[in-house]
């Protein structure tokens, strides 16, 4: 389906750019304060547009590039981009309960994560949000972690086969499972997909991606696996220790906070 794109004051897409740049030129000739104080209303409008833009771009769960933000929303307001982003992030947090985080330090790409802990009752209210891929994702993440943070693609398919998920067969819920796991999840940065050298036939390995570490944690995934087994997470001592160490590392105050950097 085509992406829903809100029309911004900057105009839908780059077709408007020529017009705006010419008006810019005339403004410059008048020597009017383009970089000067903009009205509160204009700023409000820009922040609102930015919030809308981020929400819609997040639909596909593909990290949002800073260049896209600058091109489609910010435009002339480039000089105050950090402030606009900060205001938009605040609004997203207070109104929607979402946190705007940079995927990796200095990557200049952003994602939205939920700040609210999921509640049992939410599951009933949540309607059809498209394909329920989170279940499959969690299973794969669990597999990867429990097998030592990396797993071969062939092992994944061996496992999923018993759940009726095949790389080559169309699936009732997931459509093309191979594409989902090796392409979509990778594009969304939940997984990393790398070729293993010297394998014949060629095999790939799957690991956690940066988004996974932001949206969930080793401890949470371990608890999910434990819940399925109806056992205690401590029943897997090595994995439990690893998860515990990860929790401690997270609890330590980070030197570069998750807030959007300028």
């Amino acid at each position: 389906a085509a992406e829903e794109a809100p029309s911004t004051s900057r105009g839908a897409g780059s077709s408007q750019e020529a017009r705006s740049s010419s008006s810019q030129g005339s403004r410059r000739a008048e020597a009017s304060p383009e970089v000067g104080p903009r009205s509160q209303q204009q700023l409000e409008l820009k922040v609102a547009e930015l919030v809308q833009f981020l929400l819609i771009k997040d639909q596909k769960k593909i990290p949002i590039k800073r260049t896209d933000i600058l091109k489609h929303v910010i435009g002339d307001y480039k000089d105050i981009f950090p402030d606009l982003l900060k205001l938009a992030a605040e609004r997203l947090e207070y109104v929607f309960g979402y946190k705007l985080v940079e995927l990796e330090p200095k990557s200049n790409t952003y994602i939205l994560i939920n700040t609210l802990e999921p509640v049992e009752e939410d599951a009933e209210v949540r309607g059809d949000q498209g394909t329920p891929t989170t279940g499959l994702l969690m299973i794969v993440l669990g597999l990867i972690f429990m097998k030592g943070n990396t797993i071969k693609e062939t092992e994944v398919w061996d496992f999923l086969r018993r759940l009726g998920v095949y790389p080559t067969k169309k699936h009732l819920v997931f459509g093309d499972p191979k594409k989902l796991i090796t392409e979509e999840f990778v594009r969304q940065r939940y997984l990393e997909y790398r070729r293993i050298p010297h394998t014949d036939p060629v095999d790939y390995e799957l690991q956690w991606g940066p988004r996974t570490n932001l949206e969930t944690s080793k401890m949470k995934v371990l608890k999910f696996v434990a819940k399925v087994h109806n056992q205690d997470p401590k029943d897997w001592p090595a994995q439990y220790c690893e998860a515990l160490a990860d929790e401690e590392a997270r609890a330590r105050p980070e030197t570069s906070g998750p807030a959007p950097s300028s």
């Binding site: 829903e4 498209g130 989170t134 030592g148 496992f159 090595a238």
Partner: protein, 269 residues
């Protein structure tokens, strides 16, 4: 690296002396050397091939075949004197070290063994699927509904362990931006159609109107008939207007009913 028969490097050795032989000594040495090197290369390639083929066995923590392969390469290396063979040796080493890494990783995992087959079974139990039926080896053997409910249940549980932001959608959808040239094309198409069906609109219009009037009159009369029948049956009870006109299942029908009844009211029956 042992310097074997130095003749191979292109220089002349003073150790060998072939006396009055017609063959050039350097050439002879070269040929013998060449044969040796070819053998070494062949052995290396054989070793690499074996290692690749028996990869699973080598990576197995119990077997020491990787160690044996390394020892074999060590022996081979003693005979290496040229870059070609050394390159093969290096290739083997890279392969062996990758396998060694895998082997080591397996050792780690053995500590807290995670049984993925059991994980699978537990998933079914977690969802509540009866696993008694032997005929269904795997989930795809089951009904579509069961498959859907399986993934639904897993989804619900999984969602509580991950902080995913809900995908944002406008409730009533949004305007999809249409590219500029399209309206022009549509306009052209419409203009063409109009020209072709020049006669049609006039005819249809006439028909339409008459059709409408008939329908209205017919409906009004029908409703009047209904009301009269009702009053013949129950002469003393008045009819509630709302109960009469409202169709609880259809808003448009209700509006139509109100419209027709208004004629009756206007005409004062």
């Amino acid at each position: 690296m042992k310097v074997g028969v130095a003749l191979g490097a292109g220089g002349c050795s003073d150790d060998l002396s072939y006396g009055e032989a017609s063959i050039d000594p350097s050439l002879l040495g070269l040929a013998g050397d060449e044969e040796k090197c070819r053998k070494i290369r062949k052995k290396y390639r054989q070793l690499i091939y074996n290692v690749q083929q028996n990869r699973d066995d080598l990576v197995n923590t119990v077997s020491d075949s990787l160690t044996l392969a390394l020892e074999e390469a060590d022996v081979l290396f003693d005979g290496v004197s040229r870059t070609r063979e050394a390159a093969l040796d290096a290739q083997f080493l890279v392969l062996a070290s990758d396998l060694g890494k895998e082997k080591a990783k397996q050792l780690n995992c053995d500590m807290s063994f995670f049984n993925q087959v059991a994980f699978c079974d537990f998933l079914f139990i977690f969802v509540g699927l009866n696993w008694m039926e032997e005929e269904h080896e795997e989930l795809s053997g089951f009904d579509d509904n069961i498959v859907l409910s399986f993934w639904d249940t897993v989804q619900k549980e999984a969602s509580s362990w991950i902080l995913q932001a809900e995908t944002f959608h406008f409730i009533f959808g949004s305007f999809k931006s249409k590219p500029a040239p399209r309206p022009r094309l549509e306009h052209l198409k419409k203009a063409l159609k109009m020209e072709e069906n020049g006669d049609m609109p006039a005819k249809l219009r006439k028909l339409d109107l008459s059709n409408n009037q008939e329908t209205t009159e017919k409906e009004v009369e029908r409703i009047l008939g209904l009301l009269q029948t009702y009053f013949q049956k129950y002469p003393d009870t008045p009819v509630s207007y709302f109960e009469f006109v409202i169709d609880p299942n259809s808003f448009s029908r209700t509006v139509e009913n109100i419209f027709y009844v208004s004629f009756i009211i206007r005409d004062g029956f």
